[in-house]
C-alpha cells in the first residue's frame, strides 16, 4: 500500500530540486522583465500624444487588413474597414520596452527564461506525481505549485497566440514567485499517500479543472488591474493632465479598450470551465458524502466565486456598469477565488480541510 521505495524517494527529491531550480530561473526572468521596464521607454508616439493629448487620434485596434486584395481579376477600390473612434485616447503603447532595442532584448530574455522555468516547474510536478503514483494535487503545496504552473502556462499561451503581452511578465512572475515561495516554505509537506477521501478519479477531473480555471482567472485579474490603471491614465490624459507618477508604466501598456477586451476574453473563456469544476465537485460530493450540495465552506465559496464571476459577466453588458465598475467586480470575483483557496483551507474547518498543514 505504502510504496516508499528508494526510487520514489529519489523522484520526490528530484521534484524538490527541480522546484528550487524553477524558482531560481523564474527569479531571473522576473529581474529581466523588471530591467525591460527600467531600460525601456514610453515610445515616441505615446510621448508626443501624452504631451499633446488633443492632437492625436487613436483607434482601439489595428485596422484590419484590406479584404480580398490578392484576388485576380477586376477591380479595385478597396477601403480599409471603418473603425469608430469613441473617445480621444492616447494610442496603445508598445509594451514595456517601448522602442528601445536594448530593453527589447531583455524582454525576450525574460520570456526565454520563463519558458525554461516553466519546463523545470512542470518537471517538478510530474516527478512529484510519479513519486506517489497519483495526481500531484492532494495538498496545499501541490495545489499551489500546480496553480502557479497553470498561471504561467496561461501567460505563455496568450504570448504564443501572437499577442504581445510581455507587459504581463512582471505582475505574473511576481505572484508566481510569491505563490511558489509560500508553497516551498509554509505549505510544504513531503510527498505521501492521499487520505481515503481523495481516492477517486474525480481528483483528476475536479481539481485539475479548478487549477486551470484559477491560472486563467489569475491572468484575467492581472489584466483587469492593469486596465483600471491604464483607463484612469487615459481619462487623465484626455483631460490634459500628466497622468500621475506611474504614467510611464500606463503609457507603455496597450489601450484600455484592448486590455478590457483581453481580460473579458480570458474570464469568459474559463468561466465555463469553472462552472464545470463546481459541477464535477458536486458529482464527486454525491459519490463521497451522499449529497451533491451541502454548503460546506469550500462549496459555499465556490458558489460565491461563481456568482461573482456571473455578476461580472452581466455587468459587462449592463449600462452604467461597463468599464471600471465591471472591472472592479472582476477583481472582487478573483479575490473570492483566492479566499476560497487560502482563507477557507487555513482558517475555516470543513470537509475540504486536508491541506496537509501542520496543525497548530
Amino acid at each position: 500500500m505504502n510504496s516508499n521505495s528508494l526510487a520514489d524517494q529519489t523522484l520526490a527529491q528530484l521534484s524538490n530540486w527541480l522546484m528550487y531550480s524553477a524558482i531560481a530561473v523564474y527569479l531571473m526572468a522576473f529581474l529581466a522583465a523588471c530591467a525591460e521596464w527600467a531600460f525601456g521607454n514610453t515610445g515616441r508616439i505615446a510621448r508626443a500624444s501624452a504631451t499633446d493629448p488633443a492632437g492625436s487620434v487613436a483607434r482601439d485596434d489595428e485596422p484590419s487588413a484590406p479584404v480580398g486584395g490578392t484576388t485576380p481579376g477586376s477591380t479595385s477600390v478597396l477601403v480599409p474597414t471603418s473603425t469608430t473612434v469613441r473617445r480621444k485616447a492616447p494610442p496603445g503603447g508598445h509594451g514595456a520596452a517601448g522602442d528601445s532595442p536594448r530593453a527589447d532584448v531583455l524582454g525576450r530574455t525574460s520570456v526565454s527564461l520563463t519558458l525554461l522555468a516553466f519546463v523545470l516547474h512542470a518537471g517538478s510536478i510530474v516527478t512529484r506525481g510519479l513519486s506517489v503514483a497519483r495526481p500531484p494535487w492532494g495538498n496545499m503545496y501541490e495545489f499551489s505549485t500546480a496553480f502557479a504552473l497553470a498561471a504561467v502556462g496561461a501567460y505563455l499561451a496568450v504570448l504564443a497566440l501572437r499577442k504581445n503581452v510581455r507587459w504581463l511578465a512582471v505582475p505574473i512572475l511576481l505572484s508566481v514567485l510569491l505563490t511558489l515561495g509560500l508553497a516551498v516554505t509554509i505549505l510544504y509537506v513531503d510527498s505521501a499517500q492521499l487520505v481515503p477521501a481523495l481516492h477517486s478519479y474525480w481528483l483528476w477531473i475536479h481539481v485539475s479543472a479548478a487549477i486551470v480555471s484559477g491560472g486563467v482567472f489569475h491572468i484575467g485579474a492581472v489584466v483587469t488591474l492593469l486596465f483600471i490603471g491604464r483607463d484612469r491614465w487615459e481619462a487623465a490624459v484626455a483631460k490634459g493632465r500628466a497622468g500621475g507618477r506611474l504614467a510611464t508604466v500606463w503609457g507603455r501598456l496597450p489601450s484600455a479598450g484592448s486590455l478590457d477586451k483581453l481580460s473579458y476574453r480570458l474570464n469568459v473563456l474559463v468561466f465555463p470551465l469553472w462552472t464545470f469544476a463546481v459541477i464535477a465537485g458536486a458529482v464527486w460530493a454525491e459519490a463521497a458524502w451522499g449529497r451533491y450540495w451541502g454548503w460546506d465552506p469550500k462549496e459555499t465559496w465556490a458558489f460565491i466565486t461563481w456568482v461573482a464571476y456571473a455578476a461580472y459577466l452581466h455587468a459587462r453588458a449592463t449600462a452604467g456598469w461597463k468599464g471600471r465598475r465591471a472591472a472592479c467586480l472582476g477583481l472582487i470575483a478573483f479575490s473570492t477565488f483566492v479566499f476560497n483557496y487560502y482563507g477557507v483551507n487555513i482558517f475555516i474547518t470543513g470537509l475540504h480541510s486536508y491541506g496537509g498543514l501542520p496543525t497548530k
Partner: protein, 514 residues
C-alpha cells in the same frame, strides 16, 4: 439586468456568513462551541438565523427574487427568440458603409441577378440563414449564430431546473445515520436509525427494504513520515440483502465508493472503536456486558464514551445504577496535556475511566443520549484522599470500585463503522440541469451571432458603361476580430464567383481595369 446584477451580488454576500459561522445542521459540535464562546453574539446571530443561513427566509428571499427577476427576463426573451426563428434576417441598412465591417468593389460586365444568386449561394454554403430583397436595387441579408441566444435561454432555464432539483431533494429526499458495530446488522427502516432526517413530504415508511451486516472494518494508516497517522484506506466489508428474502451478497463499501441498492446509497462516513467491557455490580452479578461505541475526538482517534449499567444493585441488593465515563486511546501516551493518542491504530490501547453510582436518570422515562452520562443525581466514586477515582485499563485489566460497589473488566476491542444512508430523488434532475447549464453556457459565450448583407447596384462610374458595384458588410453585437476575416472571406469568394460567371457569359470580352 440591473436588478438581476444587484440580486446576484446580494446572493453572494448572503452566502458569506454561512461559511464563517458554523452551521447547526452541518457542524453541530462546532456550532455549540461557538455559542459557548460568544454567548451575546450568538443571541443576535440566532435571531438572524445565521446558524442556519441556507434555510433562513432572507436567504430564500434573495434567491427567489433572483429567480422571479430571471423569469421576468427569460419568458419574454423566449417569445422573442421564437419569433426571431420564424422571421427573415432584417433588411439591409441603407448605408452599408457605416457598418463596422464593410468592403465593396466594382465588377464590370457582371449581371446583378447572377451576383445576387451567387451571394445567396455563398452565404448558404457558409450555413447562414438567407433572405433576398426584391430585384433592382438588390440585396441579400443573412444571419447566423442563433444558437447563442438559444444557449443563453437554455442556461437560464436550467437554473430553474436546479431550483426544482433543490426543492425535490428537500421535500422527498431522506438521509439517516447509523453506527454499526463489527458483526452487527442493520435493516433499512426509520426506527433503526440513530438519526433520521426525512424530507418535508417524505414519510420514512417507504424506505428501500434492504438490510446489511458489517462483517469487518479495515483501516490503514501512514506508519511513518510527517503525515504519520493519516489514513490511507478505509474499507467496510458487508453482506447485504437487497430485499426481504433475497440471497445475501458480499460488498465492500469505501469512502467514495458507496453501496447502491435500488437508488438508495450507503456511504461509509466514520469509524471508531468500541471497547468490550463487563460490568459487575455489588452482588457480583453481570450488570452489563458488551461492546460500547466510543466517539473519536481527533485524527488519532482519542475517543470518549460512557458505559451504563442501569440494572446494577449494591452489595445489599438495593438498586444502585453504575455509570462509567472516560477515554479510549488506541495508542496511548500520557503527556503534559493529559491522556493523548499518538496513532489511530490500536497498537497500545488504553481505556481510562472514572465511575459514578446512584441515580443516573435511566429509569426516568426521558430518552437519554447514549454517549452522555447524566451525573446530576449521581455520586462520583472517590479515592481515600478525596480525588476522583479513575483507572487506566489495558485489555484484560479490571477496575474494582471502592467499597465493593462492583467492578468493570476491559475484555477487548471491536471496531465500528458509521454509515450514511441517503436517497435523493433529485439527483437526476440536478445532473441533467447542470449538463444543460454547461452546454447552454458554452453556446451563449462562444457562438457568435452576426449578420451579413450583400448589396448589388448598377455602377454609375465615369468611364465604364456597364458593371455593378457589390458591397459586403457585417455586423456583430460585441466586436470581434473574426467578423472582419469572415466578411473578407465572403467577399473574396463572391468575387471569384462573379468573375467566373462573367467569364461564362461573355467569353469574347476582355477584362478591363478601370
Amino acid at each position: 439586468m440591473r436588478t438581476a446584477l444587484v440580486l446576484l451580488l446580494l446572493l453572494a454576500l448572503a452566502a458569506v456568513p454561512g461559511s464563517l459561522v458554523p452551521q447547526q445542521e452541518r457542524q453541530p459540535a462546532q456550532a455549540a462551541d461557538f455559542r459557548r464562546n460568544n454567548p451575546d453574539l450568538s443571541n443576535v446571530l440566532d435571531t438572524l438565523g445565521v446558524f442556519n443561513v441556507f434555510a433562513t427566509p432572507w436567504f430564500a428571499a434573495v434567491y427567489l427574487l433572483l429567480f422571479v427577476s430571471l423569469a421576468g427576463c427569460i419568458v419574454p426573451r423566449c417569445g422573442q427568440y421564437l419569433r426571431a426563428l420564424r422571421a427573415h434576417p432584417p433588411t439591409a441598412p441603407r448605408v452599408l458603409s457605416r457598418l463596422p465591417e464593410h468592403t465593396y468593389w466594382i465588377a464590370p460586365a457582371a449581371d446583378a441577378d447572377d451576383a445576387l444568386r451567387a451571394a445567396v449561394d455563398v452565404l448558404r454554403g457558409r450555413r447562414f440563414r438567407v433572405a433576398a430583397g426584391p430585384g433592382g436595387d438588390g440585396w441579400v441579408a443573412a444571419e447566423k449564430g442563433y444558437l447563442r441566444e438559444a444557449g443563453n435561454l437554455v442556461f437560464h432555464l436550467a437554473l430553474f431546473g436546479m431550483l426544482v432539483a433543490l426543492a425535490i431533494g428537500n421535500l422527498f429526499g431522506t438521509t439517516g445515520q447509523k453506527l454499526i458495530l463489527q458483526g452487527d446488522g442493520f435493516t433499512n427502516t426509520s426506527t433503526q436509525y440513530d438519526d433520521f432526517t426525512p424530507g418535508t413530504l417524505a414519510t420514512g415508511d417507504d424506505l428501500e427494504p434492504f438490510s446489511f451486516r458489517l462483517k469487518s472494518f479495515h483501516a490503514a494508516y501512514q506508519p511513518t513520515g510527517p503525515q504519520r497517522g493519516t489514513a490511507s484506506a478505509f474499507e467496510a466489508r458487508i453482506s447485504y440483502t437487497a430485499a426481504e428474502g433475497a440471497t445475501p451478497r458480499d460488498a465492500r463499501v469505501r469512502v467514495n465508493e458507496p453501496l447502491e441498492v435500488n437508488g438508495t446509497k450507503v456511504f461509509l462516513v466514520s469509524h471508531g472503536y468500541a471497547p468490550v467491557v463487563t460490568v459487575r455490580d455489588g452482588k457480583g452479578d453481570v450488570a452489563w456486558k458488551g461492546p460500547v461505541a466510543f466517539l473519536p475526538q481527533d485524527n488519532n482517534l482519542r475517543s470518549v464514551g460512557v458505559v451504563k449499567a442501569p440494572d446494577a444493585v449494591d452489595a445489599k441488593g438495593r438498586p444502585d445504577q453504575l455509570g462509567f465515563t472516560g477515554l479510549f486511546l488506541p495508542t496511548v501516551q500520557l503527556d503534559a496535556n493529559g491522556w493523548v493518542s499518538t496513532f489511530p491504530a490500536p497498537d497500545d490501547p488504553v481505556l481510562v475511566l472514572t465511575a459514578y453510582h446512584g441515580d443516573l436518570g435511566m429509569n426516568s422515562g426521558i430518552p437519554q443520549n447514549v454517549y452522555q452520562l447524566d451525573t446530576e443525581r449521581a455520586t462520583q466514586f472517590r479515592n481515600a484522599d478525596g480525588t476522583p477515582y479513575a483507572k487506566a485499563l489495558r485489555p484484560g485489566d479490571r477496575m474494582t470500585l471502592p467499597d465493593g460497589a462492583g467492578s468493570l473488566s476491559f475484555d477487548g476491542i471491536r471496531q465500528w463503522a458509521g454509515f450514511q444512508v441517503a436517497r435523493d430523488p433529485s439527483n437526476g434532475t440536478a445532473l441533467w440541469s447542470s449538463v444543460a447549464m454547461g452546454a447552454g453556457l458554452c453556446a451563449s459565450l462562444f457562438v457568435r451571432r452576426r449578420r451579413v448583407w450583400v448589396r448589388v447596384r448598377p455602377h454609375t462610374g465615369t468611364d465604364t458603361s456597364s458593371g455593378i458595384e457589390i458591397e459586403v458588410a457585417g455586423l456583430e453585437r460585441g466586436s470581434s476580430d473574426r467578423l472582419g476575416e469572415e466578411v473578407g472571406e465572403i467577399a473574396a469568394e463572391l468575387r471569384v464567383r462573379t468573375l467566373a460567371a462573367c467569364h461564362d457569359t461573355s467569353n469574347s470580352r476582355t477584362q478591363e481595369r478601370p
